[in-house]
Every structure is written in structure tokens, then in C-alpha cells.
Symmetry: C3
Subunit: 214 residues, 3 copies
Amino acid sequence: MVATGLLSASALQWIDQLGVLVFALSGASLAARKRFDIVGVGVLAGATGLGGGMVRDVLLGDTPPLALRSVAFMILPAAATLIVMAAHGWVLRVERIVLMFDAAGLGLFAVTGATRTLERGNGWWAAILLGTMSAVGGGVIRDVLARDVPVIFRADSELYAIPAALTAAAATLCWHLRALDAIVAGAIICVAFTLRLLAIRHAWTAPTPRDRMV
Amino acid sequence: MVATGLLSASALQWIDQLGVLVFALSGASLAARKRFDIVGVGVLAGATGLGGGMVRDVLLGDTPPLALRSVAFMILPAAATLIVMAAHGWVLRVERIVLMFDAAGLGLFAVTGATRTLERGNGWWAAILLGTMSAVGGGVIRDVLARDVPVIFRADSELYAIPAALTAAAATLCWHLRALDAIVAGAIICVAFTLRLLAIRHAWTAPTPRDRMV
Amino acid sequence: MVATGLLSASALQWIDQLGVLVFALSGASLAARKRFDIVGVGVLAGATGLGGGMVRDVLLGDTPPLALRSVAFMILPAAATLIVMAAHGWVLRVERIVLMFDAAGLGLFAVTGATRTLERGNGWWAAILLGTMSAVGGGVIRDVLARDVPVIFRADSELYAIPAALTAAAATLCWHLRALDAIVAGAIICVAFTLRLLAIRHAWTAPTPRDRMV
């Protein structure tokens, strides 16, 4: 979703594009499972792939949002829409690959969202919040539009927002220490990636409120 | 929702106002069918009539949105609220007239949304996206607030977003050809109007994802 | 949610902070009743406490929103999250106290929302709309995220948005009469507070659309 000076390394730019595509695929795929038509598939693809970054940019006052400034950001959700329209079954069969790229996009979006926030002179709290929102916002919009409870709220969902928040916090700390170059950013994203995949494999979930009255 | 140099013709301005009123009536009417109170009727009237244009203006960085700059834009949802509070049955009986003005508003909002986006120096992709969003965004917000699946996503709904997107694309093309005067704009809106009414009459729906596994 | 010149009185600032905390508690508490995990509790706490003011500031073009400019605004939803995670039962037991602070926050947010809008040169209609939205917007976002019908729409809910709108209108009128000092603002907030508590006690509800056909 973002391209900052930090991310000049073309490897990171590729992950960025793959992240948008994979987020868009998750939106398009949910629309197909809900039996929506091509409009629903396209809107959910665009909202999931680009929504988190759009909300971030609007809150930063950085308008029009990055996602509207290049046709590349429109092409990726359009491609996800066509893929799901033509071969939804195929997307379900490669679900594991999608989950892997999603885990890579999760960390990347958290790092770039936090960086964009800091570069505009905002505080560490805003960077952590908007970094996390860049990573998880698209999925929340997807679920609200599809009339689902947001997946990240569910007690039985594997850790997702928490790795994103930890990643945004790590990137914010390194930025303040002037240590956030491409290598450190890549390392943080790798940790987020590993944490997310471990959470899926071992079904790690987040704590829930304690029921008992005190 | 918008009034640009292009739309100096007072006929188009009247359709603009009628479009907001009719969109507001569709929101107010849904609230009445859901048995909401006057607050729900008023919020759905305002969100449906003005929401699409507000989101467009926020994304364009054109704040406060046009809808907040003139009391006229508040009066129309307020009128829709009073009409539905006093005589909801009457609104249901004139549903066909409402659908006709809605079809006129659909095309107009798509044209003016695309034009506003282009006038601010944005690309054709942004114009098509925000033109379409101006036309269909209010309805999506209405459905989300009323806890319905957005109508435009439903496989059994007649074409709505697709005529809006085609209209926005046609207006964008004509704008780039320097051919978008009031007459051409009116012609595009008439085509959108006809397409939408034909879709309703013949129950034309949009394609859905292919189920079979590949 | 706001701190304007008007509200230099530290008593009002305290109510402001308490308002955010109490709104955040209502979001966190709904998340606990829905059995969401800590992510859901935290997101609903933040969205309910800060969402109304964030939407207002984005519409005013006043970005980044006030809620992102000070870490204090993050601490309050974080505190609400921890309270509900540790002792949700306790929050339910003090529900009456929460309702009282909520009623105080309601009026305060409506007054400060209207004032911020007027100070930026907007019309009375925008002030009433954004004042009301500051007060009720967080709750609507909370309900949409939790997949509930917004409480303020429900025919059986006690008056909430209407006292907020009356408060915003009174503040707007006094502002135009150059009479909105801390004492007048406090008086308006007290009237809103009383009206809301009376509505709860006597189960005052808003009118609903008339069913009969005409």
C-alpha cells in the first residue's frame, strides 16, 4: 500500500504489491462464498486491499490517498476480481499460499503505515495505531460490508492484530533510534510473518475478558 | 450532490436536488420498514442522500464536504424524514416514481463525481472509482447502518453499480476528449437512466463467480 | 474529545476525559458481552471513545484528528480495555454510574463538537450536524462493528440523539449570540444531562413513522 524512501529495495516493493493482491483476494473470496455478484466481489476486493491504507491516509490528512494516485493500485483488486470470478475454486485450493502472502503483507503494511505516520511528524502512539490500522483495517471493512463479525474480534481466531501491533511498535521504536533501514525493516517483517504462521499452526488465540463477577 | 461549472444548466441542478431527495427517501423508507424511530429515519435519510458525496469529498481532500457547505443539502434529508414520518405508506405507493428519480440521480451523481475528481487533477482511474462511489456509496452506507447486505452486492439485484461505473467511465472519456459540455453530460445521464430502467424491467443481473473447481 | 478556548475550566476538561473513558467502557463492555477477544475489546473501546470526534475532524478537514495528537486519548481506551478484561462483571455492576457519565459526556461532546465546527467558519447547520455526530457517532460505529442495529435507531431506546441535537443547537444559538462562555456551556450540558436521565427513568422514546397508508 505504501512506498517510502525506506522501501526502495525492490524486494519490499514486490511484497507490497503482493500484499494488496492477497488482501484483495481474501475480500473477493469472501464475496464468492457469500454468493455476491461481480459488484460485491469487486467492492470487497478493493475495500480489503486498499481500505486500510485509505483510512490511514485520510486520518493523516494525506489526500487523495496513495491508493488513488496510481492506476497500479486499481489493477490489483481488478485482477483479484477476475481471478475469483473465473476460478473461485482455484483460490480456495491455494488457500495456504494466500495465507502466507497475507502474513507477509501484514507485517509490511504495519511497518510502512507506522513509517508514513512518523514521517509526517506524528507521535509514537499515532504510529502504532495507524500502522496496525493499515494492516488490519481492510479486513475489518471487508467483514463489515459482508455483514460478518470482524474476524480479528473473534475469540477463536488466530493472532492477527497483535502481531501487527507489535510490528508497528517495533518499527516505531527503531525509527526513533534511527535504526530503521531496509534490512531492519525486513527483519521486523520476517518476525511478524513467523509469528503469524506460528499462531495459525498452533491455534494461538488472544485472551478474552474474565467472566466472573468481582 | 455537486454543482460544477459544467452543470450550470438549471435543469441539471434540479435533477441534482431531486437525486439527493430521492436517495434520502430510499434511506428513510428502509428505516421505516425496519421500524426504526425518527432518529434512524433521519440518519438513514442523511447518510443515503449525502454519504456518497461526503466520502468522495473526504477522499479528494476537499473538506468540509460540499454537503456541509449549504443548508440546502440538510433540508432535503430533513424533508424526506418528515415525509416518511407522516406518510410512509404514500412513499411505498409512489415507489415507481422514486425508482425513476433514483435512476436519474444515479447517472447524474456518477457524472458529477467523475468531473469533480478530474477537475482536481486526478487520473482517470480515480475519476471512475469516485464517480461510481458518488452514485452508489450512499446506498452501501444505508445498508450497512441498517444491518442489511448491501443491495448492490446481491446476485438477485438488478444492475445498478455497473451502469454507474459505465457512466463515470463515459464522462471521464468525454472529459479527456474536451467534449463534456452540458448536452453531452445530459446524453450520458439519459443512457444511464435508460439502462437502469431496462435492467429493472427485464431483471438484468450481474454475473456471479463460477462455482466449479478447476 | 476536544479542548477549545471555551473549555479552559478544568472541570469541563475532566468531564471531557471522563466522557471518552465512559464511551470507551461502553464499547469494551459490549465487546465482552459479545464474547470478543482483547482485540475486539480494544477496537470497540477506541472506536466508541474516539470515533465520533475522529469523523468530525476528518469532515472538518482538521487532520490528523485531535484524538491522534495526544497520547492521553489513547490511554483512556487502553484503560477501558484493561478494566473490562480484568473485571467485566464490575463494569456491569456500576452500570448506573457509567450511564451518568455517559449522559454528561453526551452533552459535553455535542457542545464542543458544535463549537469546533463554528470556530472553523462553518454554518449553523454544519455545527448542529457535527455536534450531534461528535456525541452519537462513536456509539453508531461501535454498534456497526459489533454487528448490532445502532441503539439510537431502535424504537424502544430512550432519547439519546435528540438531546444531543438539542444541545448542539442550543450551543450554536448561544455562540451566534456571543453568549457561549464556560458558564452557559456548563448550563447547556446540565440540561442535556438532566434530559437524558429523565428519558432513561421515564422510558421516553422517540416517535416512529406512522404505519397507516394515506
